[in-house]
């Protein structure tokens, strides 16, 4: 594009008129505003730190990215990827919404399942995807999670699960509700076989997922600052007409009330999970 170069004003350095470049190194680099410290953080810096702000705020993370930082290199083998959402009750607009979610997230559904090794420990793994309809659970999500627990039970393997969900997917009506019972029954069989299940609750884990497999693990961790609860905060405010306590439904609040085993920052998750898998002897 020589023509355009010709029109461009010449660089002062090329003119030899100045010795120090006034340009900042990362000027123009996209930044993200942190909702916790309210500072603008360069995206590259966030990526280098697994999407954790220097202030400690954990940004949401795509399922595939999480799998990449969590599992040993090339150890993740995806299972049940062919399962996609249908429209079982012909809910108006659902097909388009699911298609939009598919395009936006690059995934077929709101959960990825497979086997992997974490710090050389083999396990079954599911990671939910918030950018697919806020990780809501319909028949396909319920089916994939159930299949994973059944697979793990047959092969006597532990299950590690990362949850993020707005709850049951209302566009599938009662069938979404039934997924809560279906997944729970599969977790129970895995449990009764003496096998280990560890869940990490990430922001947000609410509704029908909290009220089923998220809260049924042997060990439950949460990410710092994650919203973990059953009902939405706005609904509670409307129902009770009371103002909510500070940090209500945040993982620290949930820990204080005795419903999670601990809060584990992203940087420590891999080693913590590997250690616990080891302590359970690969079961």
């Amino acid at each position: 594009m020589a023509f355009i170069n010709f029109l461009k004003p010449k660089n002062q350095l090329e003119e030899g008129g100045r010795t120090a470049a006034p340009v900042q190194q990362d000027a123009g680099e996209p930044e993200k505003n942190c909702p916790n410290c309210h500072k603008d953080i360069p995206i590259s810096r966030l990526w280098a730190n697994d999407l954790v702000c220097p202030c400690g705020h954990h940004f949401r993370m795509k399922a595939r990215q999480r799998i990449k930082i969590l599992t040993d290199k090339d150890s993740f083998h995806e299972l049940f990827a062919e399962i996609q959402p249908g429209n079982p009750i012909n809910f108006p607009g659902y097909r388009d919404k699911a298609e939009t979610a598919r395009m936006a997230s690059g995934e077929e559904e709101a959960v990825l399942c497979g086997t992997a090794s974490i710090g050389s420990q083999n396990c079954c793994l599911f990671v939910m995807e918030s950018s697919f309809m806020m990780g809501s659970m319909g028949s396909a999500v319920g089916e994939k999670i159930t299949l994973l627990f059944e697979y793990a039970t047959r092969r006597r393997m532990p299950v590690i699960g990362f949850t993020v969900s707005g709850g049951a997917r209302m566009q599938e009506g009662l069938l979404s509700l039934m997924q809560m019972a279906k997944t729970s029954a599969a977790v129970k069989r895995h449990n009764d076989a003496g096998l280990f299940y560890l869940a990490v609750l990430t922001d947000p884990t609410t509704g029908g997922v909290t009220a089923s497999f998220a809260m049924e693990a042997d060990i439950i961790f949460a990410e710092p600052g994650a919203t973990v609860g059953f009902a939405g905060a706005r609904v509670i405010e409307q129902t009770t007409r009371k103002s909510l306590p500070a940090r209500f439904q945040k993982s620290e609040f949930v820990l204080e009330h005795g419903f999670v085993d601990g809060i584990v920052p992203r940087s420590e998750q891999k080693s913590r999970l590997a250690e616990l898998l080891k302590m359970h002897n690969g079961r």
Partner: protein, 265 residues
């Protein structure tokens, strides 16, 4: 001829419908109420205990809405707290220990959305019921008598058979809630009720329930007698089933398994 889905919702919510305790008193004999979850409190929104069903002891659990304004406030309008679900689970495990069948009556707009309910683990309480009920080795039969609101209803409905009164509803979310989330307009509840497929007939055709109970003579002796006879027959049948837990697993396992597209299979 039949009411629209939203009219069904209104009928299901009608204050004059029989409540859980009406069913307990009129179907069973000698009900002895047992209170408390042994952990925190007694939740008046869930009533439970032991009673006779045609001469056999059964454990009965019901979500109770109350009739008068005072009763309804006391029962928290049938919206249980976590301790209600924990009481129900305690009584169900007790039933398992003594080989008693379990009958649940469900009537709730949903588990209570409150600060205390969250602090005491509403989600965990429901999850625990779903988990444990899936392998209880005694027959469980649940009947939706009014509103079947989401996880708060399901927490008493992981059963071998689920029945619905003709004008009861069973839904993943209230039509008002659905309309306000999807269309930012709770007045569109009527079309949400249509789309959600929440009537007894819908639930039956989705395979979520086994039986629809007609409401002929509702609240009268014949009505309760009819339900007692059906319960007696079905519980006898389930009690002789040696493969109860596997069948219960299969009952829930199939939901949605055929509703997903498996592109490459």
């Amino acid at each position: 001829m039949s009411a629209t889905p939203y009219e069904r919702v209104k009928l299901a919510r009608d204050n004059n419908r029989p409540t859980g305790l009406d069913y307990i008193r009129n179907i069973f004999q000698g009900f002895i109420e047992l209170h408390g979850d042994r952990r925190y409190a007694d939740d008046p929104a869930i009533v439970g205990g032991i009673a006779w069903l045609n001469g056999n002891p059964v454990t009965v659990i019901a979500i109770e809405k109350g009739h008068t304004a005072k009763e309804r406030a006391y029962r928290n309008f049938g919206a249980p707290h976590p301790e209600g679900y924990r009481k129900a689970l305690r009584l169900m495990k007790q039933a398992e220990k003594f080989g008693r069948p379990i009958v649940c009556f469900i009537d709730t707009s949903g588990a209570y959305c409150g600060i205390g309910a969250e602090e005491r683990g509403q989600g965990e309480a429901i999850a625990e019921n779903l988990l444990e009920m899936s392998t209880l080795c005694v027959p469980i039969l649940s009947i939706l008598i009014g509103e079947g609101g989401s996880g708060g209803a399901l927490a008493l409905a992981v059963a071998d058979q689920v029945w619905m009164l003709q004008n009861s509803v069973y839904s993943v979310i209230s039509p008002e809630g659905c309309a306000s989330i999807l269309w930012k307009d709770s007045s569109k509840a009527e079309s949400a009720a249509e789309s959600l497929k929440l009537t007894a007939e819908d639930a039956k055709s989705l395979g979520v329930i086994e039986r629809i109970l007609t409401e002929k003579d509702i609240g009268k002796k014949d009505f309760y007698d009819r339900i007692r006879t059906l319960l007696h027959e079905e519980i006898n049948h389930l009690s002789n089933d040696m493969d109860l837990i596997n069948k219960r697993y299969a009952r829930f396992r199939r939901f949605g398994a055929d509703a997903v597209i498996q592109e490459y299979v």
